[in-house]
């Protein structure tokens, strides 16, 4: 078997820490510059809650906050959102929507209807599927999602007037490792530092919980376009704890539309609709569904299928939707059971997702949870609001936050003899978490062990999601059952998995980074990140300029403060040198003003000059700090003086490469 995509790395590390390799070199904790993104199946949304402010969504130039999660490859340029939707009826196979349902999936796992040409992975490539969008162009679901994220990030950047430092991106709680990894990869390709992947229900509960202050048990019922999630959460002592979560990652409002579209096409007498007829039926089905939220009846016409003035009543609609809506109730009862909570004990049931506007869904939720659901925050926006609040906390803002303890939605295990799954980490375990299991050899000739990592609740590995398969090699030759191979699973706060294996007799330890079978390889992600760098030169120029200005501002402040504090001491700063420094400080002020250069290299040159001119002064301050240590200064004063100097030195050092590269 091939081992090409496995990585043997740092044997001492239990966790693989992913350093942000995205373009933003200095991003990280920058208070107020974190954004929350709800990357939805049908719509996406970006929200901000800078420095403790209430969350607000960011609209486009026409005032529309929701961005349809639709990407068109029909023309020369990639079009995202409303513009892409307009091209869908004419070129249905080149305009991609509901791509979230394909995230982290292999071509063979796509068991629902869609109008796209899906390409199986080729020989030697990674297992990720691609859409053939015509003219030889093939794109992965990850790249399509990155296009959506890029548009939203640009919206936030325009609003902030500064680069985005990091993002919290929401995922359905029910997403498995492969789907989460795909989402994080999309964020990286879009040039974002992903602070955290946050479960959508947790985000929604955060938006509500903070409003209501304090304590409580909540259920979050999230029926989005393509996914259904149910979570039970408890807020106590500043900790939001997910007690249980469940759902169905291939069930959503799209299924309502499809069922209704099928009903309409049947009414039109069309047995084998072409892609355009199907698309028209789906658009009309959605319109009818929305109309019937308030009205008792509506009229539907399908021009391409010859259906005119078809009358649809609420009763008929609910007859079609009810079997689908009822599929959400089993997971609800299971989640209550897993959480050990009775419906009556809940303090609130939160509705998330546009599909919860359907009156039938609200009635079913009310009867299952024995109380009317809460819907005072727009169900389309509540997830992004929660993500924005969490992003603000993670950006370093002073804000009264809660700690979010998420859980792993599906059990993780290993395939053992006979294809049986040995569960290593149970579903609903709070993350991060680690667990280990010891395996042994069955013959002396065995020097390797195939490790097949699966995720799911079923007994047989073939019924679970295959996450990764790799072989541990180089085991010592030992009599049967004497080898002790300890396999450790580690899940980080994003529920992403690392596996460590160690042969206990010899102590040989190997860390294997689990790359999902149907995911992009690290190299492919890196290539796509580089690709996006080339296409986003303008963004980077703006980012570099902003960063250069911040750096210059820091140096100016440091030098100016030093001149004011110790510049008058004898011998420390001769008058001509002081004049030169002050002239450079004035130049720096001008460079940072509105008339200054709009290009980062020019700003860096000014800073370089200021640092050069003030270098002698800095050296003398350092010497003085050392001398004063010998003449009875307190240790802390010396340390603080040295630390200041070292700080300046370090900053100067870090700029050298930029100064020497034109």
């Amino acid at each position: 078997m091939g081992n090409d995509d496995q990585t043997w790395a740092d044997p001492g590390a239990l966790f693989q820490i992913e350093e942000p390799t995205a373009p933003s070199r200095r991003s990280g904790r920058t208070p107020g510059r974190g954004i929350g993104i709800d990357l939805g199946t049908t719509h996406s949304l970006v929200a901000l809650a800078p420095r403790g402010e209430a969350p607000r969504e960011l609209p486009d130039a026409e005032g529309r906050a929701l961005l349809p999660s639709v990407v068109s490859y029909a023309g020369a340029d990639v079009v995202v959102g409303w513009g892409a939707m307009g091209q869908r009826v004419e070129a249905p196979e080149r305009v991609l929507s509901s791509v979230k349902r394909f995230m982290g999936r292999g071509a063979a796992e796509i068991d629902f209807e869609h109008p796209y040409r899906v390409v199986e992975p080729g020989e030697g490539g990674s297992g990720v599927m691609r859409f053939d969008v015509g003219e030889g162009r093939r794109v992965t679901p990850v790249e399509v999602s990155a296009e959506i994220l890029r548009v939203l990030a640009a919206r936030a950047e325009a609003e902030l007037g500064e680069p985005v430092a990091g993002a919290v991106i929401t995922v359905p709680a029910y997403f498995d490792d492969a789907q989460r990894q795909a989402t994080k990869d999309a964020g990286r390709i879009a040039g974002l530092t992903v602070y955290r992947l946050l479960a959508e229900p947790t985000a929604a509960a955060l938006a509500y919980g903070l409003d209501r202050g304090g304590q409580g048990l909540f259920a979050v019922y999230d029926l989005g376009g393509g996914t259904f999630d149910i979570s039970i959460l408890r807020l106590r002592d500043g900790v939001f704890q997910v007690l249980a979560t469940g759902g169905d990652s291939a069930l959503g409002g799209d299924d309502f539309d499809r069922a209704l579209a099928a009903h309409l096409l049947a009414a039109a007498g069309v047995d084998a609709p072409d892609p355009r007829q199907r698309e028209e039926a789906r658009v009309e089905a959605r319109r009818a569904k929305e109309a019937l939220t308030d009205a008792e009846r509506c009229v539907v016409t399908l021009g391409r299928s010859g259906l005119s003035e078809h009358v649809l009543t609420t009763e008929a609609l609910e007859g079609i939707l009810e079997p689908i809506a009822r599929r959400t109730l089993g997971p609800c009862r299971l989640a209550l059971k897993d959480a050990g909570v009775r419906a009556q004990e809940l303090d609130g049931v939160v509705l998330v997702g546009g599909s919860t506007r359907v009156p039938l869904v609200r009635r079913l939720v009310e009867s299952t949870f024995k109380q009317p659901p809460l819907a005072d925050i727009d169900p389309d926006k509540v997830v992004a609001y929660g993500a924005a609040v969490q992003a603000d906390i993670l950006s370093g803002s002073e804000r009264e936050g809660v700690t979010l303890l998420d859980v792993v939605p599906l059990s993780l295990g290993l395939e053992t003899m006979g294809g049986i799954v040995e569960k290593i980490i149970p579903r609903n375990a709070t993350i991060p978490i680690g667990a280990r299991q010891v395996f042994t050899n069955y013959s002396e000739k065995q020097t390797g062990l195939v490790v097949h990592v699966v995720q799911g609740e079923r007994e047989l590995a073939s019924d679970c999601r295959s996450l990764a398969r790799f072989e541990l090699k180089g085991l010592p030759r030992l009599p049967p059952s004497m080898a002790r191979i300890e396999v450790t699973f580690q899940l980080d706060a994003d529920a992403l998995l690392t596996v460590t294996a160690r042969e206990l007799m010899t102590g040989v330890k190997q860390t294997v980074e689990v790359k999902p079978t149907h995911g992009l390889s690290e190299a492919e992600v890196d290539a796509l990140v580089m690709d996006s760098l080339e296409h986003a030169q303008d963004d980077f120029d703006a980012r570099n300029l902003a960063e250069a200005r911040v750096e210059l501002g820091r140096v100016v402040l440091a030098v100016r403060t030093a001149v004011q504090e110790v510049g008058d001491l004898p011998g420390l700063l001769p008058a001509p040198e002081r004049e030169a420094i002050e002239a450079e400080l004035r130049r720096a002020d001008a460079a940072m003003g509105p008339e200054g250069p709009q290009e980062h290299r020019a700003i860096n040159a000014v800073r370089e000059q200021l640092e050069r001119v003030s270098e002698g002064f800095a050296r003398r301050r350092m010497e003085r700090a050392l001398r004063s240590g010998m003449s009875g200064k307190s240790l802390s004063e010396i340390e603080s003086a040295l630390a200041d100097e070292a700080d300046l030195e370090a900053r100067r050092g870090s700029h050298d490469p930029e100064m020497t590269t034109p």
Binding site: A13, L14, F15, I17, E19, G28, R29, G166, Y195, R196, R236, D237, G238, V239, Q241, Q390, I393, L394, G396, T403, L404, L405, A429, T430, I431, P432, I433, G434, A435, V438, Q490, L491, D492, A493
Partner: protein, 178 residues
């Protein structure tokens, strides 16, 4: 310069609780939530990768400790393991005690009981389940008494018995909820 204190070696110490079977649920919850808040990796965004890793490992150990200690059965099994008998291991010296022939025969008969109850209908299955449920509680109570008297081998035996019974209950449940 702050030196990180060595992490406590067992779940009880990690959560600041005495190493006994009896655990005050409120104290466990409060201790867990306080520590979970302090050590969650979200608090270390932007910190060095070493600090971030340390937070992740601390959180993972804490979450595992909470999972074990809040569950009466896992807690008893864990106390056994701390005292030298690990019922999860098959090691002849320190692993789960071997059960005698009579016990294994009894379990085979219990399996047959399930088949009979299935034939007799859902009510019979429910009755059987209730009976085995009581036995599960008895086995755990027995293990706790033995643990309190520091008779670890006997405690482990009761816990292994409990595991066999648990499998029977799981099997009944599968038949009850198709």
């Amino acid at each position: 310069m702050a030196v990180a204190s060595p992490s406590p070696s067992d779940h009880f110490a990690r959560l600041g609780l005495p190493r006994t079977y009896a655990v005050d649920r409120d104290a466990l919850e409060a201790a867990y939530l306080e520590r979970a808040r302090a050590s969650h990796p979200d608090r270390f965004v932007g910190a060095s990768s070493g600090e971030h890793r340390a937070a992740m490992e601390r959180s993972a150990a804490l979450n595992e400790g909470y999972r074990v200690l809040r569950d009466p059965v896992r807690r008893a099994e864990y106390l056994c393991a701390l005292r030298g008998v690990d019922v999860d291991s098959s090691d002849p010296k320190t692993g789960a005690p071997a059960m005698d022939q009579a016990f294994l025969m009894e379990m085979i008969e219990r399996r047959e009981e399930i088949e009979q109850a299935r034939g007799a209908g859902a009510d019979a299955l429910e009755q059987l389940r209730a009976r085995v449920d009581d036995e599960l509680d008895e086995a755990l109570d027995e293990a706790v008494v033995q643990l309190e008297q520091e008779r670890v081998a006997e405690a482990a035996r009761a816990l292994v018995r409990r595991r066999y019974l648990q499998r029977i209950v799981d099997e009944i449940d599968q038949h009850l909820e198709p």
